[in-house]
């Protein structure tokens, strides 16, 4: 029952965007990711962004799929197809479709007249009716609606139905009944679309070969894998969106890979022991306290949290900095301030993490751009934390952490040896006349430590109060300064150990664009679009703090640079200025902080409007 008014008939292959509007808790998310997964399996670059509420059931939720043959998979703001399954948001959802686009809706009930945009094609599928007719249980009727609309979309954009069918069979391998209903529902929607609409629509998929060595993974899972491969054994954590899944995954992975079989278990005893201990703490202060205790004892330990948790850890982070205890923190950033929007993304903990705690403190930060970097950087975090004996933060965010991204397969080099930093064992101690905690610094200003349990010669008393290089309590200016001065130099020395910035230069560029983290894809797409429009820009993505000299050079080489980041206060720009000494006026803020993943359009518009001025 399509209302043919403004149909756009230009055929676009592997280049379109779909938005699906649902109610949370109804089972739609599985159906939506099924679509995205199928497209991925067809070898086409794709992304899926889950825009969900901070609530468990009953509120509006959206999912966006962007298909792009050139790999531009940042968030699109032009939707070719809207799957409008939530009558509560019909109005805004229908508003959201590009002119000439399509709306798929449940035609079991008629659409209000006023919703009918003349420049959009409405595709009604009687989903509820079909499900009532085909399924008996109320629960199934709700659930299968999702699979049915997915089936319709499969037909409409030309996804390989067999592939989707296989995916369903894999998912429900263990449950025949459910497998059956899912398959039926898929066909219901698929067939209805085939029969009633001209399938495929002008925008459609066609198989490609672009994802063969890629995977679909979210950043939190990848980070957890990184911690597993890094050899982390202890973690203290407290649940918080969007970081919780890091620890959920780490727990699951440990249960899978870290169980030591027990030869002859006593009756009642489990047949294995856990080579890990994950403690759900009473709060974030306790979580970081546990990490410090374990790291002090020589275990690789970490926590994962989000902004409010970092705020609470503020005091103990100063203790770790000053006493030189390694710690790895994964901050999956969300929209602040305060509780803010827990299910929206932002990059607004940069300054907090860089300088967390009272007094003069500086920390090391890594900024992954995607799940693959979450995996790799997580491992590096432990190496850097132990090498430099200090807290290291990985600043992920909700978009990276909770959405599935297409990234190259994760690989592991079995020759990897963890950098445990300068730790003296009893043999080392035996060869020494005496041991003092903060003496004998190396070229990177790191001094060797001992672990509790070492020979008494290596015993010392950690303290967050003023201490001299021997670790002895002091209130003497010079002795105090000697230690904190070394800490500053040590921090600076870590610059060459954090991942180097990614720089791409283009002939004729006068302007630079600097960004970080998950803005990567959108900014790259924008750089290309700007070039098409005649504005040639160099690109730099910083990946770690402290900054290598190249960061300053990049700014200085350009008349000015745009700094694209997802916070209100231009925090990266501030940090670059303070820490490299480059003139702040050479860096123009380009900020997007509404809580959604960045899209190239925001960058292009931002740059162009400033260039026009």
């Amino acid at each position: 029952m399509a209302i043919d008014t403004a149909e756009d008939t230009t055929v676009r292959v592997n280049d379109f965007a779909i938005k699906l509007a649902n109610v949370n808790g109804t089972g739609s998310a599985s159906a939506n990711s099924l679509l995205m997964q199928a497209i991925f399996r067809m070898g086409i670059p794709v992304s899926g962004k889950n825009l969900f509420p901070s609530n468990i059931q009953g509120l509006p939720t959206w999912y966006e799929i962007r298909v792009n043959k050139s790999g531009y998979t940042a968030r699109a703001l032009d939707y070719d197809l809207m799957v409008a399954m939530n009558s509560a948001t019909y109005e805004e959802d229908i508003e959201d479709v590009r002119s000439g686009g399509y709306v798929l809706y449940d035609s079991s009930w008629p659409l209000d007249q006023y919703l009918l945009r003349p420049d959009v094609t409405f595709l009604g599928v009687p989903l509820a009716r079909m499900c009532i007719e085909n399924f008996a249980a109320p629960r199934e009727r709700i659930l299968m609606k999702n699979v049915a609309y997915a089936g319709a979309v499969v037909a409409l954009v030309g996804i390989d139905i067999e592939l989707v069918s296989d995916l369903l069979s894999e998912t429900f391998a263990r449950n025949e009944l459910l497998r059956e209903s899912n398959q039926n529902a898929l066909r219901l929607g698929y067939n209805y679309a085939k029969e009633n609409f001209q399938c495929p629509l002008p925008f459609r998929v066609e198989p490609m070969d672009a994802t063969k060595n890629s995977i679909l993974i979210d950043g939190n899972t990848a980070a957890a894998l990184g911690c597993l491969y890094a050899g982390a054994t202890v973690s203290g954590w407290y649940p918080i969106t969007p970081a919780t899944a890091v620890m959920d995954n780490f727990t699951r992975l440990c249960a899978q890979f870290r169980r030591e079989p027990v030869e002859n278990p006593a009756p009642g005893e489990l047949p294995y022991k856990n080579n890990y201990l994950i403690i759900q703490a009473e709060d974030e202060i306790a979580a970081i306290g546990m990490v410090l205790g374990a790291s002090w004892s020589g275990a690789r330990a970490f926590t994962s949290t989000s902004g409010p948790g970092i705020s609470l850890m503020n005091e103990l982070l100063g203790l770790a900095y000053y006493t030189e205890i390694p710690a790895v923190l994964i901050d999956v950033q969300r929209t602040g301030p305060s509780t803010g929007m827990p299910t929206r993304t932002q990059q607004s903990d940069i300054l907090l993490c860089a300088y967390a705690s009272h007094g003069d403190t500086k920390h090391i930060l890594l900024f992954p751009a995607n799940p693959r970097e979450c995996f790799e950087f997580a491992v590096q975090c432990f190496d850097i934390a132990e090498r430099f004996q200090t807290p290291v933060f990985m600043l992920s965010d909700l978009d990276i952490g909770m959405n599935d991204w297409v990234v190259p397969e994760l690989t592991w080099d079995d020759s990897y040896v963890p950098d445990r930093g300068r730790v003296l064992n009893d043999v080392d101690l035996a060869g020494m006349a005496e041991f003092f905690r903060y003496t004998d610094e190396d070229s990177e200003f790191v001094t060797p430590r001992t672990l509790p349990g070492s020979d008494s010669k290596g015993a010392y008393f950690i303290r967050g109060s003023g201490h001299d290089k021997f670790g002895i309590y002091t209130e003497d200016s010079e002795k105090y300064q000697e230690v904190v001065d070394r800490l500053k130099k040590k921090h600076a020395a870590s610059a060459t150990h954090v991942p180097a910035p990614v720089v791409e230069r283009h002939d004729g560029a006068t302007v630079g664009i600097i960004t970080l983290g998950g803005c990567d894809l959108a900014v790259r797409e924008a750089v290309d679009q700007l070039a098409d429009g005649g504005v040639v820009a160099d690109f730099m993505r910083v990946r770690g703090f402290p900054f290598v000299p190249e960061v300053r050079q990049f700014v200085e080489e350009h008349d000015y640079c745009f700094v694209v980041e997802q916070n209100r206060d231009a925090q990266l720009r501030s940090l670059i200025c303070i820490e490299t000494g480059v003139a702040i006026e050479k860096m123009r803020p380009l900020l997007a902080y509404g809580g959604f993943p960045l899209s190239a359009r925001q960058v292009v518009d931002g740059v162009t409007s400033q260039l026009e001025n």
């Binding site: 020589g298 015993a459 002091t474």
Partner: protein, 351 residues
């Protein structure tokens, strides 16, 4: 400067313990606490207990928060590993350390401010997790290091140095422990080494968190306004006064509590505290009775002391989490990393 290296004077005549060490080997730096501070007596008892136990010093990890009490780990077992952390957070750090290395003997020293105010949540949850450690609260009813404010264990009606009487009921860490499912609860008096040392030894032997509430008088801030012995009392100008400028030199109070009767001990400010040791035949395994006993004694103005409650059957944090009996920090990396082949296999599930 609060830790001064104590000259080790070899005394050939000192008795040796099972591992050939003398009591001197269990001492630490010279205390910088006020002369007469109860905390120093607790330090002496701890020194003694570890010596008697023949615990190798390097297998001891001593942790603390912030406060006068929390300074004391520097003053015992110099060969042990120490961590003077942040105010109220000792329990969290001890939990993490214990998680990484279950093979050491953990002793945490805290104050009533450290444990019953800012750190009460961590204490409660460490008890619930049953972290295998000795947890000593050096309880003086005041914030010593910040100069004499009431703590949450200050008694109703007591008057702090600067004025208003305290009108809130004190928090009793033993009752708190009972409500949190503690597995070892004891109370003693800093001056009664005869009672405290065995309790410390029992605590070291206990598998789980052993909480010891030690009443340990602060000689400086029990110099109450109401007391006519107070130097302060005689001054006129409160405004300009430099608080605690003069602190008279006092002696530590030493006194063994009677076996079967209440013992009255006069504090430095003249106040009298009535301690009562648990009677012989007392059953520390019956949680309900324990509670009853403590409350009953309290209602008579007495403080019950001794090993008040113990439950040897409970699992500690490692048993609850099914970890191996070796320290996690000793597991070789090869065992921890699943390797490239497993990763490659796993990649299949992400397609």
């Amino acid at each position: 400067m609060t830790s001064i290296v104590k000259p080790i004077i070899p005394l050939a005549s000192l008795p040796m313990n099972e591992i050939g060490l003398t009591i001197r080997d269990y001492e630490g730096a010279v205390s910088t606490l006020c002369a007469g501070c109860g905390h120093d007596s607790v330090t002496a008892a701890i020194t003694h207990a570890f010596w008697e136990l023949s615990t190798p010093p390097h297998t001891i990890a001593k942790l603390s928060g912030i406060g006068c009490s929390s300074k004391t780990p520097t003053y015992f077992v110099r060969g042990a590993h120490g961590f003077n952390s942040a105010h109220g957070r000792m329990a969290t750090i001890a939990t993490g350390a214990n998680a990484a290395n279950r093979e050491l003997t953990y002793i945490g020293i805290s104050g009533d401010g450290d444990s019953l105010s800012i750190g009460i949540g961590h204490l409660a949850h460490a008890i619930r997790r049953n972290v295998n450690m000795i947890y000593v609260i050096e309880n003086n009813g005041v914030y010593g290091l910040t100069k004499g404010q009431f703590s949450a264990s200050a008694d109703i009606g007591s008057r702090l140095k600067k004025g208003e009487p305290n009108a809130m009921a004190p928090i009793d860490p033993v009752l708190l422990g009972l409500s949190m499912g503690a597995t070892f609860l004891a109370r003693s008096f800093s001056g009664d080494k005869a009672q405290l040392v065995p309790i410390l030894k029992a605590a070291a032997a206990h598998n789980g968190l052993a909480l010891i509430d030690v009443i340990s008088p602060c000689v400086t801030f029990n110099d109450h306004e109401g007391s006519t012995k107070s130097y302060r009392f005689m001054r006129e100008h409160e405004v300009k006064e430099i608080q605690t400028d003069f602190i008279p030199i006092r002696k530590e109070i030493h006194k063994s509590l009677n076996e079967n009767d209440a013992t009255e001990i006069t504090m430095h400010d003249g106040s009298v505290v009535r301690f009562r040791s648990v009677p012989s035949g007392y059953d520390p395994y019956d949680r309900q009775k324990v509670e009853e006993y403590i409350r009953e004694r309290r209602s008579r103005g007495e403080i019950a002391t001794g090993l008040l409650y113990v439950d040897e059957s409970a699992l500690d944090v490692h048993e609850l989490n099914n970890t191996p009996d070796y320290a996690l920090n000793t597991v070789p990396y090869q065992k921890l990393c699943p390797g490239s082949a497993e990763l490659a296999k796993m990649m299949m599930s992400f397609r």
